[in-house]
């Protein structure tokens, strides 16, 4: 093992060494059907979101009452809503905002979940307090937390992101903590400590790296949960306020016209399914390739 590490270093430096670690994982990922299908779907949705201004045929918020509730047809592939706005354009732009909300929620959950989980797992003195607090938060259903927090703070895009982060952080913290608890006791960590590495360096340089795989998998699912939860928040009336479209508030805004214009609810719903299915498949693929222990 030691000599292998030396040869690596002499043969091509750290880049080659890193590649030797990464390449098998990449190969495993590319050979995994869940991952490839999921990644393609997610990349597709993200690309559509990024290029919304190029792809959307119409302005998503401009109403045209002469074209109210038009069924899908040549001019409007997805039809129009009750303000006469083009639904395809709204779904495309809605994807942009929903993805932004989801990504920001993932980022916030990643940062807070990792920080709380790492501190709790590494510093035993804080473990009890932090984890009881996380347990208490987990005693409320995720969607209930998101609804109540968003409603209490007042409906806005930022508050929806905060609400989603509050709702998904406890479980993330728990996952990071359990990884840290295992890694903390490993010999290589002990070796690093013996070499004089401080807590900060041990935690961020050695221990947390091992929590990366389960964290990435969890955050992929958090992304999916965030998109579904945003839709629910919008539906019950505490989501991002209109007229800016999100997947959720397009559906919420059209529910009164369900009988006369079902397409206005069908297409945004299908868009949610594509995005969430992609993320779930991606999560499954990543889990199988990165973290076989979590395999289900």
């Amino acid at each position: 093992m030691d000599s292998a590490a030396h040869t690596l270093e002499f043969e091509g430096g750290w880049l080659r060494a890193a590649l030797r670690f990464i390449m098998p994982t990449v190969r495993r990922l590319l050979g995994n059907r869940s991952f490839t299908i999921g990644a393609s779907l997610v990349v597709f949705v993200l690309l559509v979101a990024c290029f919304a201004n190029v792809l959307a045929p119409y302005d998503p918020v401009r109403s045209n009452f002469r074209l109210r509730l038009q069924p899908p047809g040549a001019g409007h592939w997805f039809g129009t809503d009750h303000f006469g706005r083009d639904l395809l354009s709204r779904v495309i732009y809605g994807g942009r905002l929903s993805m932004e909300i989801g990504l920001m929620a993932v980022l916030a959950t990643g940062v807070f979940g990792t920080a709380i989980g790492a501190v709790a797992g590494y510093f035993s003195s804080l473990d009890g307090v932090l984890m009881r607090l996380m347990d208490a938060l987990m005693a409320f259903p995720t969607i209930l937390v998101a609804i109540v927090v968003s409603a209490m703070l007042g409906a806005s895009v930022t508050n929806v992101i905060i609400a989603l982060a509050v709702a998904t952080t406890p479980h993330t913290a728990r996952i990071v903590r359990s990884s840290v608890l295992v890694t903390r006791e490993m010999q290589y960590v002990e070796a690093a400590r013996a070499l004089g590495a401080g807590d900060f360096r041990l935690l961020f340089g050695h221990v947390l790296l091992n929590a990366l795989a389960p964290l990435i998998v969890r955050l992929t699912y958090v992304f999916a949960i965030a998109i579904l939860a945003e839709a629910v928040l919008s539906y019950v009336g505490v989501g991002p306020p209109p007229p800016a479209p999100t997947f959720g508030n397009i559906i919420a805004g059209e529910r009164e016209f369900m009988l006369t214009a079902p397409w206005a609810m069908i297409f945004p719903g299908l868009a949610i399914i594509v995005a969430v299915l992609g993320l779930n498949l991606l999560g499954d693929g990543l889990r199988d390739a990165l973290d076989p222990r979590m395999r289900i």
Binding site: P141, V148, L153, V236, V238, G269
Partner: protein
């Protein structure tokens, strides 16, 4: 068993204390004055002051907290500002609706989920397995309220088999109740069904690979007997764990499903309270839901020992 149960309940006490603190403190998340947030913008300062007094917001924080703990320890969840009645009574009145919805959804998700998962594991790698797993993943990816709307559209509006919403108590008409509850229960259970079937499949695959299954096969037992008598019982622990998580998902999902199907349950009470900022109802129902969830988890922990004698209670 009794000792374990008591110990398990004791462990939950600190969490319970925190849960009630969070339920109480939620009112402090409102930017500005919660009393003013409840009333219209045009409300007079006197009206705001009166409501502040009613909610106890004019007292120092620690006194408010003490009085909250004092009340909940006596089983009093407070008084709704909007409904002018006890929060506890309002919840209890609506509980049968939510319970019947959630339990039907749970039964459906668990039974169908285990069946689908076992079938997928038995046909591992074949098209049956792949289609079941695709459907399960689809179930996990569909927003439950959207599925509900689509079901209303197809089965209630289109085919006219079910009402589009509303609730009939089973004591009034069992058939009427069943017709009202089938679509909501299906929409609520679909995601959980996907979750349980995936978990069952993986648990079964692990069990089916073990030596005692090979022995059972080798002594000539029919495959179905091997699976039912030796496979499923040994895969139950992870399945029950998931069923516990599912219970939380069902409680959360009921919030929005009751909204879609106009079911007068606890979920609608909470959403109504959240939208109108009826703080005592929000605080009381948060605590109530968390209590239910914690109790379900205690039951799940006890069930481990019942289904699997290898689990030691200590």
């Amino acid at each position: 068993m009794l000792r374990f149960a008591l110990k398990r309940i004791l462990i939950s006490v600190p969490v319970l204390g925190l849960v009630s603190l969070i339920s109480f403190a939620i009112i402090w998340m409102v930017p500005g004055d919660p009393a003013a947030a409840f009333l219209e913008a045009s409300a007079s300062p006197e009206a705001v002051a009166a409501l502040r007094h009613e909610l106890g917001l004019d007292q120092p924080f620690y006194l408010q907290m003490l009085s909250w703990y004092g009340r909940i320890l006596h089983g009093d969840l407070g008084e709704s500002i909007l409904l002018h009645r006890s929060v506890g009574t309002a919840i209890l009145e609506r509980l049968p609706v939510t319970l019947s919805l959630a339990s039907l959804a749970l039964a459906f998700a668990v039974l169908m989920g285990i069946l689908a998962g076992v079938l997928a594991a038995m046909r591992h790698g074949k098209w049956t397995d792949q289609s079941i797993m695709t459907l399960a993943l689809l179930g996990l990816s569909v927003p439950d309220f959207w599925l509900g709307i689509m079901l209303i559209f197809g089965f209630a509006v289109g085919l006219g088999w079910f009402p589009t919403g509303g609730y009939v108590s089973p004591s009034v008409s069992f058939v009427g109740w069943a017709r009202c509850i089938v679509l909501p229960a299906f929409s609520l259970g679909a995601a959980q069904l996907g979750f349980i079937s995936r978990m069952t499949r993986s648990a079964m695959l692990e069990v089916l690979g073990q030596d005692f299954i090979r022995t059972a096969d080798a002594k000539g037992l029919p495959r179905s007997a091997v699976v039912v008598r030796h496979g499923i019982p040994n895969a139950l622990v992870p399945i029950i764990t998931v069923a516990g998580i599912v219970a939380g998902g069902l409680l959360g999902g009921a919030l929005v499903i009751e909204q879609v199907f106009s079911l007068p349950g606890v979920g609608r009470l909470i959403i109504g309270a959240v939208l109108s900022r009826d703080f005592p109802v929000i605080q009381g129902s948060l605590l109530f839901i968390a209590l239910v969830y914690l109790s379900v988890n205690i039951v799940v922990d006890l069930l481990y020992a019942v289904v699997d004698p290898r689990v030691r209670l200590g």
